[in-house]
Amino acid sequence: MGDGIFLLIPILFPMIAGLVILAIGHRIARQIYVGTVLVLNTITVFLISFLTEVSSFTLWKFSGSLSVMFRFDGTGKLFACLISTIWTVACIYAFEYMKHEGKEKRYFAFAVMSLGVLMGLSMAGNLMTLYMFYEFMTLITVPLVIHSQGRDALKAGLKYLGYSVLGAGLTLIGFFFLNFYGTGTAFSEGGVLDLAKIAGNENALLAIFLVMMIGFGCKAGLMPLQAWLPTAHPVAPAPASAVLSGIITKAGILGMIRVTFYVFNPDFLRGTWAQLTIVILALATVFVGSMLAYKEQLLKKRLAYSTVSQVSYVIFGIMILSPQGLSGALLQVIFHAISKNALFLSVGAIIYKTGHIYVKDLKGIGKKMPIVMWCFTIASLSLIGIPPTGGFVAKWDLALGALSPDYGGVLGYIGPAVLLVSALLTAGYLLPIIRDAFYPGKDFDYETLEKTEANAYMTAPLILLCIAVAGLGMFPMGLQQVISGITGAVM
């Protein structure tokens, strides 16, 4: 059983509280209620993370190796803290934003319930629990994608569902095999492979690994299953796009980390063709995503392509299979989550206030909405990786991990080079927006200019995210300490 029954609190509390939202009709009351629930949940997650050691809890045992089991270790804690914080920030932003989308009750109910599912995902202690919450997550976030109920949204929702189920199905294949080849399916540092059974079947296992990674890669936007992402993210309401891009993609990453370090073993994978394949896929995705973002004119879609590219930085970092590479990957998880949320939320604020969705319409927007565009700027700088923001710190670790002699090889040089080409493209698709926003040109009409700054519900979350991305970039010591605990445990 384990002694961690308290682990159920952050999972069940939002789920039940989310259902209650459906019964609250009054807007202000609902906002207070949602805010309280989310803040309380975040505090709970942080308290559990910092006050307890690794705790585990088995909820239900079907038979032999099948059980619903929770285990809250370093990786889980990092993800749970990140997810619950960003979720809270995005939902507070949504208080104002969703006024113009309508159907607020439904949106908040599903948003809060999704948080519970995500907490379950972070705390999942074995493959079966992970798979279960992974599928829950897909299903419960579909309403967020199709919120507007337009034809495009419905089509995108179906695409999202199709790809996600396919991806999850691929991971399920792996689950069946690992049940046989492993000593169990409960996650543990150093993996659960039964080396005696594997002997002679290494290639089969590597193939399984590849299939599982591609399956989880679907959520993370890894090629070849990336196509749903730029379709589904832009059609959702801005706060939903923000968490879809910033957080839900990271659920795929969590799955990948679990498979690589807690089910398989980095030593087993190092130097194999499976590692090589995924590194190549990740680098190709990094480049392709950036390139398409550079060419895209619809701003939200541009950001979605950018997510495709940026999340694959993380996958590259994981597959370096060295402590520094993993540290870079986890830092990238955090800083991408923060900065991409900030970007989507600022774009949301622009849409909310002006209705502009194309890049070319944003000339002079910095004069109308200075705070929002300043936040956009800081988040962009982090996404490009300009010091002293967080993106730079992450990129430094990723590149040095790749260049270290343990990884070595030509890919050790190609990897960082691709990351930098992608950074150049990132600069190419973000900086012109900022330039036009603040410097619309000499003949810009200042007479008819009116300030349309978003209100505090929207700007406060943005400012908070920007302070986080710049502050944590300058003072990453605490974060690095936490992360070195994780990397030290698995390698």
Partner: protein, 658 residues
């Protein structure tokens, strides 16, 4: 070892002051100006006070900042650069008030110049390439608003170049730094020599350092990365151009020095490469300047050329090895002399612009007649930049020239290498001549020739600058001859202070700047300059217009620019097109597969009826007796069956083969 908090205060105070000035400026313009003057004066005082703290506590380490931490250290060079930056910022800000009268967005501008100053201090005081890089990036971005300030079409175009090159350069540099960190294990400047001596794979070290050099080379206007500089510097407001030319370019030089004088201390091969790039910049810049008819563009091209001289000196340090005293001192002194000269000249250009709203040489003809202060400042700038004896540029150019001559003298026989160095020496003298020629072009046009249209109107402008501006102009003009005539008490002192950073020593015997042989070198340059001016500029570059008046013609073909011919078409059109095509092809593979599968699954034979209410699903319509037994859908089924059989066969073959 404790920490010297004055360093960190110098770096971060401008950031705080920038925000302060923005807030104050929202309420009161005059209060903001006063605040700015005080803040900059305080910064300058602080920088000077650094000298007092040297020897006691001369470093500052902030562990963990942005992961690897910030490392600062004091020595003569760092402090001198820091004082130079603060000084130039103060001087240019004093004239900014008049320059920006009535302009929009000055509040933002002043905030960003203070940010830039903070970042400059961070670069110049850093003891670590990592720290330098962080502040270098901050500087690149913070100085962008300075370039785009005017928001005209040219300003936006120039600032695009500026930012494009800056981002490109810094990312290439970052790759170099990744590699250096992984090869050397440290980026701390005072540990680089030691770390580099243990390196076995030298080829990799060259690659890494060359990549690192790109970002710094961009800022220093090193050929072929110089193309942004004339554009950006000529479109920025004049006080900003002064800062850009005088100080920000020196951040690039700083980086080149760090790499060349530490990792490749006394490495002749590296030095040769640097000398070649320096020579190319020197010549290109000078030629572009001769052709230019826009005074600010001329000064900007001149910056490329003068920085080329400095880069040659850095290369000569490496080539000369232990006996590089002359090159070391030449590097330091030419950096400083160039800064002071460009400060005076760009501020002069600014004063002209405030009156005339143009930098076009033809329109400015005769503007300077009977304007003695302007005449004095431009005259000092001309003489100093051209390296005329008794003026400041002469001293540093002589040092660099002597270092090349000394090396040629040391070589025993005629080799290809000796021939190369002789070419460099000849080009050096030639570029010195061009310097005089393009400065004469401007000086003669503004101060000697008469304006064919409205000379009387120009002469009538008696008060063309405020008292404050005049004071600043006089100060920046007077410094030049003073340090030029008294090199032993001024320039030598500076060189002694700063040379330690480049691991240089004082020369065995003091350099006799005014000896016959040195004067002869200068005389050769001056002669070339006069010949070029009278036989080329006045003959080939001046054409008669329809009224029969000789004007300065724009002879340089507009298409002849590396940026317009190669960089922009390739980097903005060709590469993105090819890569986007490739990317999109790869990208749609998944979607195409899905579409194909759907076509297979929902293949519609003729009888399938799709209800209009639900286009996703098809049902069979009311049963219709098929007239033909074999129809299209049977053929299709057979086809699929065939594919299946082939797949099974292939599988069996593979199984049997293995």
């Amino acid at each position: 070892m404790g920490n010297n908090y004055l360093i960190i205060a110098l770096v971060f105070f401008p950031f705080a002051a920038g925000i302060g000035s923005y807030i104050i400026g929202r309420f009161h313009q005059l209060a903001r100006d006063v605040f700015l003057y005080f803040a900059l004066a305080l910064e300058l005082t602080g920088a000077c006070c650094l000298f007092a703290t040297v020897g006691t506590v001369d470093s500052f380490v902030w562990e963990g900042f942005a992961s690897l931490g910030l490392h600062f250290k004091l020595d003569g060079f760092h402090i001198s650069m820091s004082i130079l930056a603060s000084f130039i910022w103060l001087m240019t800000t004093l004239v900014s008030k008049e320059y920006f009268k009535g302009a929009r967005g000055t509040n933002k501008y002043f905030m960003f110049i203070l940010f830039t100053l903070g970042a400059m201090q961070g670069v110049f005081l850093s003891n670590d390439l990592y720290t330098a890089f962080i502040f270098f990036e901050v500087m690149s971005f913070a100085s962008y608003p300075m370039v785009i300030q005017n928001e005209t079409e040219e300003a936006i175009d120039g600032s695009n170049s500026y930012l494009g090159f800056a981002v490109f350069g810094s990312l290439v540099s970052l790759m170099g730094l990744f590699m250096l960190q992984s090869i050397l294990g440290t980026l701390q400047i005072d540990q680089l020599i030691e770390a580099a001596s243990h390196v076995t794979n030298y080829a990799l070290l060259y690659v890494a350092s060359a990549l690192t050099l790109v970002g710094f080379g961009v800022k220093a206007g090193m050929f072929p990365l110089h193309t942004w500089l004339p554009q950006a510097h000529s479109v920025a407001p004049a006080p900003a151009s002064a800062m850009l030319s005088a100080v920000i370019t020196k951040a690039g030089i700083f980086g080149i020095i760090v790499v060349s004088c530490n990792i490749f201390l006394h490495d002749a091969q590296w030095g040769l490469a640097i000398v070649i790039f320096g020579t190319l910049s020197m010549v290109t810049g000078a030629i572009l300047a001769v052709f230019s008819n826009n005074i600010k563009r001329t000064f900007a091209c001149s910056s490329v050329s003068q920085l080329g001289f400095v880069i040659i000196a850095i290369g000569m340090q490496c080539i000369l090895g232990e006996h590089n005293a002359l090159a070391v001192r030449g590097t330091v002194l030419h950096m400083f002399n160039h800064s002071l000269l460009k400060l005076a000249l760009f501020m002069g250009a600014g004063v002209i612009y405030v009156c005339m709203h143009t930098f076009d040489l033809n329109k400015l003809r005769g503007f300077g007649r009977k304007k003695s202060v302007l005449w004095f400042v431009f005259g000092m700038g001309l003489l100093g930049l051209a390296g005329v004896p008794l003026f400041n540029g002469y001293i540093s150019k002589t040092l660099i020239h002597e270092s090349i001559v000394e090396y040629i003298g040391m070589m025993p026989e005629q080799t290809a290498f000796a021939g190369l160095m002789q070419t460099v020496e000849a080009l050096f003298t030639f570029s010195g001549g061009l310097t005089l020629a393009y400065m004469l072009k401007i000086f003669v046009a503004i101060f000697i020739e008469k304006n064919p249209d409205n000379q009387a109107k120009l002469d009538a402008k008696k008060t063309y600058m405020s008292k404050l501006t005049m004071g600043v102009m006089i100060v920046s003009g007077v410094i030049l001859p003073i340090i030029g005539t008294l090199p032993y008490w001024t320039q030598d002192l500076l060189a002694d202070t700063a040379q330690g950073f480049m691991h240089g020593h004082a020369p065995a015997s003091p350099v006799n700047y005014f000896s016959l042989i040195n004067l002869r070198g200068a005389a050769a340059s001056i002669a070339i300059g006069i010949i070029v001016y009278f036989l080329f500029i006045r003959v080939c570059l001046m054409k008669k217009n329809e009224n029969g008046i000789k004007i300065y013609a724009d002879v340089w073909p507009s298409w002849l620019s590396i940026e317009r011919m190669i960089y922009r078409p390739v980097l903005l059109r060709l590469l993105p097109f090819a890569s986007a095509l490739a990317a999109r092809t790869i990208y749609v593979a998944g979607d195409t597969a899905v579409r194909l599968f759907r076509k297979l699954l929902f293949f519609k034979s003729k009888d399938v009826f799709t209800p209009p209410t639900n286009h996703r699903f098809g049902t069979y319509d009311a049963p219709v007796q098929p007239k033909r037994i074999i129809n299209k859908s049977l053929a299709y089924s057979l086809l699929l069956f065939g594919v299946g059989v082939v797949a099974v066969m292939l599988y069996l073959m593979i199984i049997n083969a293995s």
